[in-house]
Amino acid sequence: MLLEWMMNGHAILYTGVTLAFWSTILIVGICYTIFDLGFRFDVAWFLTETSPFMWANLGIGLAISLSVVGAAWGIYITGSSIIGGGVKAPRIKTKNLVSIIFCEAVAIYGIIMAIVISNMAENFSGTTPETIGRQNYQAGYSMFGAGLTVGFSNLFCGICVGIVGSGAALADAQNASLFVKILIVEIFGSAIGLFGVIVAILQTSKVKMGD
């Protein structure tokens, strides 16, 4: 039975990743302790020595990619329901495309934020933490944070809108009057993606990268 459970792809994947992660941490921790080199574990060194560009570009990448994941997930959930429901009730097809558009909007938020954030990335000439300067570090971290904010908000917004839209399509197929009511739920779901965008804009409002 254990073998059967192990044959499950999910189990292998998650066991593998978890094992790799925890064993790395354990071995690194043991090495630090045995060699009495714990003083070398320096988070501040890591944060100041890694380039602000890494953080900025991670933010940009996460902004667009997570938003697109959310949108895609939502669309595939809604889409399959619309097509399935449309077999028996073809009238729902056109009306329910609005759910798809709500999901798509999430992806559009993501790409707009990615472009806005990437426009803030400028070149700077410093090489050491002192010469790089406070502002560049702040810029790097802000862009990372903004990207993360908009990415995750749009991810869950997209899933939410997708599941609600799927429900709306199937309810509409049963009873045409239900659609408008469910659309209101969908609008609320869509708003949360917008919150993420607003906060991300606020985070990057003070960003000024460069010399």
């Binding site: 792809g9 994947l13 990743v17 003083f39 380039s51 991670l58």
Partner: protein, 486 residues
Amino acid sequence: MAPARTLQLQRISAPLVVFLAVLSVLKTGNCEEQVPLILWTSEGTSVPSQSPPTAGHIVGQQQLASYLEKALEAGPRNVVLFLQDKMSVEDFTMYGGAFGNKQDSVFPNLEGALRSSSSPLVLPAVSWPASNAVIGQLQDQLETSPLYMDPETLSQLRLNTSSPALLVFRLPYGMGADLMSAKEILSGNDEVIGQVLSIMRTQSVPYTAIYTALRPSQEAASLSVEASLGGGRSLLQARGGYRERGRERERQRKIKEKAGIYGPVEFKEGDNTCILLWATGLSVSILRSGRWEDHNLTPSTFGEGVSPKLHGSSCDKTKARLVLNYENVLGHRSFKLIFAMSQRHYQVSARRWFTLDAVELEYDGTKATFNGSRNIYAPAEYSYRCESVTNFRWPLLVPRSSKDPANQWRVSLEDFQIQGFNVSGGEFSYASDCAGFFSPGIWMGLMTSLLMVLVLTYGLHMIMQLHTMDRFDDPKGPAISVPQTE
């Protein structure tokens, strides 16, 4: 009262005597300190041969005295003593052609003499104190004082068969651990032996010749310095002991001399070393009229036998200051290079750290200061070591301010190691290196890789939860056919 005290003394001294006896036995049983002794008589004289000692037996003073007595009783009483500074059996093994290469032997004269003698006596292991005292013993037995000679003075001397004589020829061994020079020296000594023996032959005086040494030649015993790096000890040798430590230190010193390694600059407060500094390169440069003028300070600071002036240095529990004083550097009469360090307890890491606060250049009343506390730090128990400490190439030192005279200077230290606190035994503690295990680039790569692995995991999870629709699958029904035609 008095008898009681003497009785007490007697009681105390008995265990002491036993202890000393044990010590003396152990001393004579020491297998490191032996010197061979070879005794032969001139050809034509016959002497009853004495049985050599059993293999591995070390002849002590008493036994040596009895051997010599028997030899001198029966044989000629003119003794020619060839006393080498150092000798060991290994010399004969290595240079005596013992491995079938007789043509390479450096002892042809000695071998000839032994062959032509009627009863040579070879004692391979005479304890070192005994061989050292062989002159004294011969003096006692012959009742004559020794005459120190060399081949030239011997040819002028007229020897008498009736009265005993003790002629001592001192032969060198040399200081070098270099194998080649030992061979040459032994060859030279053998030449001297040959000369002396031929002079004695021309004078037709019967003699007894003894070839021995004052001390064992331990360099030969340990082959070469490099070969015995690991320890060079025999299986049953007891570890430790002051002789072994001294030998080890001597060995290390010779290795370092060969490799050009030298000790660090030490500042001592009283008896204890307080600050240690070491580097392979130290140079300063000044910008004058658009050009950089360099001055290499390494030869006057580091090196074997170089001791820079450290006036003005100080150290206490929290601050240490090493001042290197130079003269005539880049046109400045007096030039000082100052390393200022401090240590204190830091709360967040709950440990003491020391920092190199400043590197100062003081010349003609001006002071150029570089800050180093930002990058040069280590836990207070350890030393700090970095491959390159400069203010211009991956700078770890920065001028204190933009108007500081340090902006006209360049300081460069290569393979730099410094310790200002908790120095024990005159040696550096563990060196906390400025280069960590992972560089910032490696960390950045690891972080992004980790992120991508997470994304991959997420994607794999999603794809694996897609299932094809199998509700209407009927394995027993007809297969789906897709007709080609309409």
